[in-house]
């Protein structure tokens, strides 16, 4: 895991040094801040409901940010030929994937932390529990982790960054609305499709409302693990080609 740490530091440094990461952070925070102002703060509502709507709007940060932060992670390395350095170093594919994933997750966590002023505003002006806020953010972090893993998998598949971005975005959108397909088919496929829904079923019915279900946590961890594993296997297959 030593190589994971080395790659993690380099990758996080890239996010923090270059304007790329900060531009994404700024745009996401501005966009979802405006949406929060217009959507969650409109009219008189219970503060707990306002917070719920905040988490509804803010879930766009891990979803959109996850795709934007991950699609280039491996495809850019291939496009810029820097992948050769990793490929010809005594580094395992899992260490490469994990190092990059953790760096992107750390940066996403920083962006999420920067949005915390919005729930603080709600808490100052209303009555919400800290636990509800913590659960909501935990959900967003898990949602972001799964999205990053999907984006990383798309990035592992191709050297073309644009294709990686489109594939990552398409996979995330499909995974977010796959429950709609579930309503059109019969069990047991219906149950399967509903249970693998990334956003609607596991986020909106639980974390968004401040409810922590173990099954939701397990789902996100499993989805993240699954796509990271796919990324590692894809990288393994491509490393020697």
């Amino acid at each position: 895991m030593r190589a994971t740490s080395i790659i993690y530091r380099r990758e996080l440094g890239t996010y923090l040094r270059s304007p790329y990461g900060w531009v994404i952070a700024a745009v996401l925070l501005l966009l979802f801040g405006l949406l929060f102002q217009g959507f969650a703060m409109s009219g008189e509502m219970l503060s707990a409901y306002v917070l719920e709507r905040f988490f509804y709007v803010a879930s766009g940060i891990p979803l959109v940010g996850g795709v934007l932060l991950s699609f280039r992670l491996l495809s850019e390395e291939r496009q810029n030929h820097s992948m050769v350095l990793l490929n010809t170093s005594p580094v395992r594919d899992s260490e490469i994937v994990l190092g990059k994933f953790l760096a992107a997750l750390t940066f996403l966590a920083i962006v999420l932390v920067l949005s915390v002023y919005m729930p603080i505003l709600i808490k100052v002006n209303g009555k919400i529990t800290t636990a509800q806020v913590v659960v909501g953010y935990f959900g967003m972090l898990l949602l972001g982790a799964a999205t990053l893993a999907i984006g990383l998998f798309a990035s592992a598949m191709t050297r073309q960054q644009l294709i990686a971005a489109v594939v990552a975005a398409a996979l995330v959108v499909v995974m977010c609305f796959i429950h709609l397909l579930g309503s059109k088919v019969d069990p047991p496929l219906k149950d399967v499709l509903e249970q693998i829904d990334l956003w609607w079923v596991h986020y909106q019915y639980g974390f968004m409302k401040g409810i922590l279900h173990l099954k939701d946590v397990i789902f996100y961890v499993a989805a993240t693990y699954f796509f990271l594993l796919l990324s590692i296997k894809t990288l393994e297959a491509k490393r020697w080609q």
Binding site: I6, R10, S82, V84, T88, S89, P90, V91
Partner: protein, 317 residues
């Protein structure tokens, strides 16, 4: 020691390399010479564990490159055609990253850094961002990342590609310095670069080894081309072509005479010979009472050898 045995690589159904077998002893500097598409890069990428061979075995420093790639990777420094650089990093950070990836500890990299910067002449740009460097400096950073962990084997794929003449000389000097402490493998299609840098050559063509050995060994084979060019004038001013051709054709060792052309007030004849027969030619010309204005001799240089070997491969395919 590097030992390749029946090494082949296919891309889909297309053969890119092999089967080739060769050995490279420790401390040697070996040049992989060949035209574009000859299989040089494929061979070097396999040696650097960047590419898995389709068939055959490759052993580097006693380790099988397929079975134990990490052991081989620890012992190899690789500069691909396009240096694997991160444009957003500064030079020292990048070299630190490269060294740590190859298993060096932070103190080891720190101790090694001044030496690496000095060897590769990067001290002046050590704190510059890689994106701001010229092509020549980037190439040097590429070499620096390949040697930062002091590997036993150094693989350089077209190290002078895209460099200007001054940079080429600088790179050649750098490689000459690196030869002292590393087994160096260089690929190039630039003949002078290879001939001035390498102890031994592997001439590749269409994925196969067409010739191997020292430059002299390759050049002194039976089919070596030697050329004597003689410029002759008739004292009487008449056209001596027919007479001279007869005289020269009778000289022992002359295999062929090309069509003459005018040069320096006389007629120039290019003779393809089996040996150095300048003495015989000059004697024959003087005996025939002709004026000998000029006599040039050219042994088969690497360029001729290369063209002959590659030409042979093309003819056989």
């Amino acid at each position: 020691m590097i030992r390749a045995s029946n090494l082949s690589k296919f891309y889909g159904g297309k053969r890119a390399l092999g089967p080739v077998s060769f050995e490279i002893a420790d401390g040697e500097t070996v040049g992989f010479l060949g035209l574009n598409g000859a299989g040089k890069t494929t061979a070097l990428r396999i040696l650097a564990c960047d590419l898995r061979p389709s068939a055959g075995t490759i052993e580097v420093g006693g380790f099988d490159a397929v079975a134990e790639p990490h052991e081989v990777r620890k012992r190899i420094g690789f500069l691909p055609e396009n240096p694997p650089l991160y444009a957003d990093m500064i030079v020292t950070d990048y070299l630190r990253f490269s060294g740590e990836l190859r298993g060096m500890t932070k103190p080891e990299v720190k101790r090694r850094m001044p030496e690496i910067l000095e060897i590769t002449d990067l001290t002046d740009v050590a704190n510059d961002q890689i994106s701001t460097l010229s092509h020549g400096y980037r190439q040097r950073v590429g070499v620096a990342q390949a040697i930062v962990h002091d590997p036993k084997f150094l693989i350089l794929d077209e190290p002078t590609r895209g460099l200007d003449p001054v940079q080429i000389v600088e790179m050649r000097n750098l490689i000459h310095d690196l030869k002292q402490n590393h087994t160096v493998l260089i690929s190039s299609h630039i003949l002078t670069e290879i001939s001035q840098t390498c102890d031994r050559l592997l001439v590749l063509g269409r994925g196969k080894i067409l010739g191997a050995g020292r430059e002299q060994d390759l050049a002194t084979s039976e089919t070596e081309i030697r050329q004597v060019t003689v410029v002759v004038r008739s004292p009487g001013g008449d056209d001596p072509r027919g007479q001279i051709r007869t005289v020269l054709a009778a000289v022992d060792g002359v295999k062929a005479i090309a069509d003459p052309y005018e040069q320096g007030g006389g007629m120039a004849f290019a003779l393809e010979t089996a040996k150095d027969c300048r003495a015989e030619v000059s004697r024959a010309v003087v005996t025939a009472k002709l004026d000998l204005l000029k006599l040039d001799y050219a042994r088969s240089e690497l360029e001729n050898t290369f063209i002959r070997l590659v030409g042979g491969a093309d003819a056989s395919n």
